[in-house]
Every structure is written in C-alpha cells, then in structure tokens.
Amino acid sequence: MDPILWILLALLAFMLVGALIAIETRDLLSSVICVGAIGFGTSLIFLLLGAPDLAVTQVVVEILVLVVLVRVVITRRDEAVTTSRSTLPVGVVLLALGVMAAVVFATIADGEADQDLRLRPFGQPRLTQIVDATLLAPAGRPELAPAGATAPASVGGAFLQDGLLQDEASRGSGAANYVMGILLDYRAYDTLGEATVIFVAVVGAYAVLRKVGRSHHAGNESDR
C-alpha cells in the first residue's frame, strides 16, 4: 500500500480531531491555537501532495491569521459562558448529513466505474486519455497513427502537456512554476478577481472599523 496515502489519512484524522477539540473546548485561546494546528496540518498535506506553493502560502497565511486571532482573544476578557444552541439535535443532523455524504461519495465512485463521467478516486485524476489513434494520423494515412498515444483529458492535462511549449513556433506561459503560469497567465483574470477580493476585504475592514459610522451634523436633522 502506498505510504503516502497512510500518512495522508493519519494527517486528516489528526485534523478532524483537532477541529473537534477547537470547536468543543471552552477556552477561546486553546480553540484558536487548535485551529492553527489544523492549518499547519493542511499545509503539511499540501506539501505531501506535491503542492509546495500552497504549503508555503498556507503557512504564512496561517501565521498571520493566528497572530491576529490570538491578539484579538487575549486582549479581550470574555466572561460570558460559551453556551451552545441546543447542540445535540443539530449535531445529530449534521452527523447524519456527513455519513450520508460519505456514503454518497463512496457509492458514486463504485457504481459507475466504467462510465466516462465518474468520480476519479484519489491519486488518479483525470489528466490524460488514450485517444483513438486514427484521429491523429495524417489525412488518408491511417497506418501512420501512433499506437498508445494519449491526449489530455482535462484542462490540467492539457496544461501539463502544452503549458510550456518550447518549440519556437508556439508559446506557453514560459513560467517554470506551472502553478504561477496558470495563476498569472492562463487564468490571470481569476487572479485579478482574487486581488480585487483582498482589496475589497481591506477596504471593507477599514469601513467596518470606522469609529463613527454616521455623521449626524450633515444633511437634514432627524430626531434619531
């Protein structure tokens, strides 16, 4: 059995436990620190799965979030008891939901193994497919068809194959880091949206944190 899968499962289990502790503990500081641990778990998984960009990003984001949250929590005394809404029914419903979803995940994978549009299991993403070789043969010369040729079966596969075309005739993004090539060239428009999201959140946070939201001196006087 693939050792990576076992490490992954162990990490995921660790994160699940950590999440439950973070949610159920009564101490807010422990809760925040637990969530930090989950974040680092996520980062480890990213590293394990060949996503160093994500791992680095997750770590730095995690640190920033953790520092802010810890400062928010430790400088504010909260004497109120952390009560839950009638936890049990909600928990049972959600647990049922989770189990149901798990069953769905498991069955949609098994039931239609031979269909093209099935859920690909872990480790076998939809990247390439064996193509009908005659499609690739020159017109009228089917005997020249390459045997066992594959073609991309997904955007990701196409990108891996052609994202960095180096023959002079064509052009890829030219970025050695493919993820960055996608992020800032092929899907740069998404990244513009992403940059906008940060901008919106920053401006929004400034707006929310204003000391005075309404100026009562201007405009019509009202008796509010």
Partner: protein, 589 residues
C-alpha cells in the same frame, strides 16, 4: 465591439481601486460621487450598446487563450440583459447615494465598495467559467457584507455577520461543487462541461451530487426559502441604496442568474433540476409572501417580499425546464422564460424603487415603522407618489410592468398544463396585493403623526432617482412589444430554452472575429488574428499542436487543413512511448 466585454468589468474595477484615495483627497460629497457616477454611466452606455449592437452571442477568451485552458467571458442574450439591468439600477442607486450618504462618514470607502460590487456583479454575469464566476461572486459578496455594515451600528454589524457567515457557507458549497465538476469532467468552462455531459449522454450520479452543492450554494446566495434566513436581516440593515442594489440585482446576479446558467447551460435543462427549481421557487413565493404579511417595518416587509418575488422567477425557470422535458411546444416554453426574465427585470426596477423610497422616508422622518408613517404622502408628495407606483407595480395592477410579467407566468403555466402551480402563483399575487395594500393605506391615509408633520420632501437627487425608477415602472411594459422584445428579451430567453445547444457550437469569437464559425475553423482564425496583432515573434505562429489538442479535447476530428509540421508527444503509457513526427499537409502560410 467585443473589447467592450472585459471593459464592463475593468472600468468599475479601476474606479473601485481609485476611490479610497479620491475620498481622502476631496471632502466635498458631490466631487466624490462624480467619478463613480461617470463610470457607471459609461458602463450603462456600453451595456446598452452591447445589448442592441450585436445579436450574436460572443465568447471572449481572456489573454487570447483560445485553447480551453483559458478563462472565457460570455456575452450572450442573457448576460447582456443582466448587465443592462445591473448598470441601470447601479446608476440610479448612485444618484440616490449622493444626498443620502451625507448621513454617513467616509464616502470614499462607500463608493469604492459600491463600484467593486458592481464590478463583481458584471464579472459574474459575463463569466463563462465556473471558478471565475465563483471568484466574482466572492468579490460582489464581500463588498456587500461590508456595505451592509457600513453604518456600524450594532444591528447592522449583526446583520452583516449573519450574512457573511451564511455567504461563506454558500461559497464553501460552491467550491465543493467546482471540485466535483472538475474531477468528473476535467473542465471548468461552462460550455466544455456541458459538452462533456452531452457526450456522455446526460449527467451521471457524481454530477448530480455536484449540482446539489451548487443548488445549495446558489440557493443561499439567492435566498431561496430554506436558505433565506440572512436576507430579512441584511437587506433592511444596509443603507437604502445598498438595500436597493442587494434586493434589486445582487441576489439575481449571484443567485438566480447563476442557477439559470447551471441548470440550462451546463445541465441542458435537466428536468430533475427543473423540478428542484420549481419546488424552491414555489416555497419561496408562498412563504415569503406569508412572512411579509406580518411585518410592520417597511424595509423588512420589502425584504420578505423580495424572497417571494424572486421565487416567481425561479419557479418560471424551473417550470420551463420541466415543460421542455414534457414536450410542451416551444412557444409556450418561450413565453414561460420570457415571463420569468421579464419579472426579473421588473422586480429589479420596482423593488429598488421601493427600497429607495423607504430610504427617502427614513431620511425625512427617521423611522421605518409603517404605523408611524400615516399621511406621509401629503408631506412628501413625490416620494409618496413613487411608493404608490412601486406598490401597485409589484402587486400586479395593470397596466404597470408587474402585471404583465405575472400574467405571462400564469398564462404560460396554464398553457403548459401545470394548473396547480398556476393557481398557487395567482393566489400569491393576491397575497402580494394584500400586503402592499397595507403599505398603500399607511402612505395614503391616517392622521399624520408628529414625526411626519415635521418631515419634508427628500433632497432633489433622491427624488430624481426615485422618479426615474417610477417612470421605468410605467414604460417597461414596452419591453414586451414585439419589436423591442425581439431585441431584448428573446435573445435572453433563447439562451435558456436552447440551453447547451446555443452555448457551445462553434461560437468561439474573440476580439477580431465576430462572426460565428465552426470551432476548428475559428481556432485557426483566432490564432491568425493574434498573429496580426502581436508584437513579438514567439507569439506569431501557432503550432498545429494546439489545434490538434483543441480538437481532441473538443472531441472533434482534426481539421483537414492542419497547420505545418508538428511533433506529437506520445504518452508514456503506451509501449511505443516515443515521440513520433506526424506530418500533415500544410496550408498556405
């Protein structure tokens, strides 16, 4: 012309980035509002131009990546209609903001968030890509969370928090849906996913699971009834122009429009999903109306009414899918969809009008409680008249716009033999009439309270904004006059009724090639165009490899006249895993 499509997003985006600085540099509220109003007017002009200029749908591949690797913008009938609606309501809301926002501090931040929300909505309705749409839904969503809390009173903060939390849950569902769709089909582009689904002979179980996640996500954004909890808090808490934007266009752009795209453009009007929409729509319609009956707060009443009225639109879209699957004639299905889309446009107009009026009233009297507003029509004649027109329009009194769209929906439901739904729709129309009669009564009659006596008409800018919308309520029935309808509503309705068929087949149109052409042809055409406009050599020739891969990915035979010589990379899986040079007959350079 095609370049207008990205500009619709870029203009408000640039304005949004600039406004925080502009707000610091100038203190006068008129000069702060000038840039946003100009930009939004520009967007409106471009949107109308786009709507009336070209009948053919356009697909704009950002960055020139004709290959399905890139992100596409799609401007078809539905997107264009939505862009015009969004820009119109935004412009009016901005006019209204000029005076209304004098009560708030930091106009620079306000206008920045407003423009970014507008950019987000334009991005959503123009996007042809699942993930890109998600990103822009987030842009619009996060801007709206902040705008709801703009007054920073505790009510507003709480409403914003509730809205934010539920919005984040919706986003997580959407992301899971995207993950599933990508895993299963390997594509993120609406059209490509649809093509894959069609090739496999319809959606499979994992895709239905993905659809369920999308339905929950978009349902939350659209505030359909089981997911509506946030709306009655968030919409009334926001400043009035923002309430108008949220109820008028945001829930439609990131909720209803996205649902329509999902069901019709990706799942090709799948009847099972159609039924889900019917159920969601009916529930929202009925429960929204019932909850609105009991409200004493003007804005809360309007918010519940939004839930109910958006239910009409979703019901109409769902019913269209159901009827299509049952083989009802295309004319009736078309009528159903036109009715739904017309109601969407109408609701944007009269709900924004009513929210803006509620803002005027609150501005003048400082209260939103209907029982304190007796006789307000006498003190504020313009606003009073506008409230009356809005209330009559939304309750479906002829000859105002609401009447026509509801009539269309009910008639189409009857013709499509969905009698029970038709009856429910008719009953809800009467309920609507009933609760708006309450509004009418308070606005018209009753002895003016002390609060009302001291009030006076709202400032000019606010009056102008409400009057513009009131006039639109009166003239928008013209949209169903055949000559206008064929330019505006019919292209949009075709996108819905023809589903995937209208969305994929060989309409890869970028900047310079606007005529429809077979896809393989166009790929080359586009690369040819790029060659012409590109400044540096590596760009200037496209290898045939990309053409070939494009065609393989598209599931089509490669074109007869492929380009030059190409190297074929054989996969490592096969026994002869080595590069094989395949020579094709060249074409004239």
């Amino acid at each position: 012309m095609a370049h207008l499509v990205p500009l619709l997003v870029v203009l408000p985006l640039a304005g949004g980035f600039l406004m925080p600085l502009v707000g610091r540099l100038t203190g006068r509220r008129e000069s702060v509002a000038a840039l946003p109003i100009l930009l939004t007017a520009g967007v409106l002009v471009m949107a109308v131009w786009l709507l009336l200029g070209a009948a053919e749908p356009m697909t704009y591949w950002v960055g020139g990546w004709d290959f399905p690797i890139g992100v596409s913008l799609v401007a078809d009938g539905l997107s264009r209609l939505m862009v015009v609606i969004v820009a119109t309501i935004s412009l009016v809301a901005l006019l209204f903001s000029m005076d209304y926002m004098a009560r708030f501090t930091s106009p620079g931040l306000y206008y920045s968030l407003f423009l970014l929300m507008l950019a987000g909505m334009n991005g959503v309705v123009l996007s042809g890509d699942l993930f890109n749409m998600f990103v822009f839904i987030e842009v619009a969503g996060i801007a709206s969370y902040a705008l709801v809390a703009f007054g920073t009173e505790s009510d507003e903060l709480e409403a914003s928090l509730k809205y934010l939390v539920l919005g984040t849950v919706a986003s997580a569902f959407l992301l899971v849906g995207i993950a599933l769709v990508y895993n299963v089909t390997g594509h993120l582009n609406w059209a490509k996913v649809a093509e894959g689904v069609a090739q496999a002979g319809g959606p499979t179980a994992p895709l239905y699971v993905a659809a369920a996640f999308f339905l929950m996500g978009f349902g939350l954004k659209a505030a359909m009834v089981p997911f509506h909890a946030w709306l009655p808090d968030a919409h009334p808490s926001a400043p009035a122009p923002i309430s108008a934007m949220l109820s008028g266009v945001l829930i439609k752009a990131s909720g209803v429009y996205a649902l329509a795209r999902l069901v019709f453009s990706v799942f090709d009007g799948d009847p099972a999903l159609g039924w889900v929409l019917v159920v969601l729509g009916t529930l929202s319609m009925v429960l929204g109306a019932l909850m609105a009956m009991g409200q004493g707060d003007f804005k809360r009443l309007l918010a519940y009414s939004s839930v109910s009225q958006v239910g009409y639109v979703v019901l109409a879209l769902g019913a269209a899918a159901v009827m299509q699957a049952r083989g009802v004639s295309a004319g009736v299905v078309g009528l159903m969809v036109v009715g739904g889309l017309f109601h969407l446009a109408n609701h944007a107009i009269f709900k924004s009008l009513l929210f803006l009026c509620s803002g005027s009233v609150e501005y003048a009297t400082g209260t939103r409680q209907l029982k304190d507003l007796g006789g307000i029509g006498g003190r504020m004649p313009v606003t009073g008249a506008c409230v009356r027109i809005g209330a009559l329009a939304i309750s479906g009194v002829p000859p105002l716009n609401g009447f026509w769209s509801k009539l269309f929906i009910i008639v189409a439901l009857v013709l499509g033999k969905l009698y029970v739904l038709a009856a429910i729709t008719a009953i809800v129309s009467f309920l609507t009439l009933a609760y708006y009669a309450k509004v009418q009564r308070y606005v018209l009659g009753g002895a003016p309270s002390e609060r009302v006596v001291r009030s006076r008409e709202a400032p000019l800018g606010m009056c102008v904004a409400t009057v513009v919308l009131a006039v639109l309520c009166v003239v928008s029935p013209l949209l169903v006059v055949p000559a206008v309808r064929s330019r505006v509503l019919d292209p949009a309705s075709r996108v819905v009724t023809e589903g995937r068929a209208a969305d994929t087949r060989g309409r890869i149109i970028t900047a310079d090639a606007e005529t429809p052409a077979p896809a393989a042809e166009t790929v080359r055409q586009v690369s040819g165009e790029l060659r012409g406009g590109s400044p540096h050599p590596p760009r200037q020739a496209e290898s045939g490899a990309r053409d070939r891969l494009a065609t393989v990915l598209n599931g089509r035979a490669p074109p007869d006249t492929a380009v030059g010589t190409e190297t074929h990379r054989a996969g490592s899986a096969g026994a002869s895993a080595q590069a094989t040079a395949v020579t094709r007959q060249g074409r004239t350079p």
